[in-house]
Assembly symmetry: C2
């Protein structure tokens, strides 16, 4: 078939590891902040952006969803007071999503448990060199995939 056993194993391990991790995360985030995994990621992504703000379309691309899907979640997060949407001054078609203080507060509330779970679930079984190697490889793969996957705007065109 052209892809050796070792690689197939690695692929399935990636998928299953991520599924299991996500199951644990979903529980933790629900418990600590009554928030979904996806919404946590949206807030986390916003929080690390300059001034906590990002254009809707760019935000959609980082989380892979269709724009309508992002609108759906943005509406929910906005109702909960965790982000707000502002018109862009430079391009009036654009909307900028901004994380609120309350949104940052929720992140702070949820992050300690989240990070503890990441450490426990993902890094406890690895020593330092293995951790380095994993980080290096995953970063390469992620960057490669980013280039391969069309943006939400590109997908829409076709």
């Amino acid at each position: 078939m052209g892809l050796d056993e070792r690689r197939i194993e690695a692929y399935f391990a990636l998928t299953e590891a991520h599924s299991l991790l996500q199951l644990l995360m979903e529980e933790q985030l629900k418990r600590d902040g009554d928030i979904s995994y996806l919404q946590f990621f949206l807030l986390a992504r916003l929080a690390q952006a300059p001034e906590g703000r990002m254009r809707m379309t760019d935000l959609a691309d980082t989380v892979i969803h269709s724009r309508s899907g992002l609108t759906y979640h943005a509406t929910k997060l906005e109702s909960a007071g965790l982000l707000r949407r502002e018109p862009s001054p430079t391009d009036e078609r654009s909307v900028t999503a901004v994380i609120t203080d309350q949104g940052r507060g929720l992140l702070e509330q949820v992050l300690p448990g989240h990070i503890a779970l990441v450490r426990q679930g993902m890094f406890d079984p690895l020593d330092d060199p293995q951790t380095e190697a994993l980080a290096d490889a995953l970063t390469l793969v992620r960057n490669h995939l980013r280039a391969m996957v069309p943006t939400s705007a590109e997908r829409r065109r076709s």
Copy 2:
């Protein structure tokens, strides 16, 4: 916070890599076999089990879903002729899911494109030592998480 930048980066890379990969997979599987990622995994898991058969509860655990969720998908796959359900001879409460010839046929139809995509998306950016290291680390993490996550029966009890 106790978890260094490198590890947080690796964690986010895992999540994003898997999301991007899944987006590509979903398209490929839909196109080549009109099947979802989850249903592909159910069939693939069955196909690699002895005699292509597995107890419903065990199958649910490998794919992480609730039992009712598995019943939902098993019903769809059965309607499509891709698996069948048989009563277990040893325990009459149990149901055994068995992949059909048609199910194996669909896997064969879909696998070449799938494997090509795995190679292109996941392994093209890695050299051999990096691939080895990634496989080793992900396998350790996966096994560790398997032990951490309660089975569907255990989750039900609580």
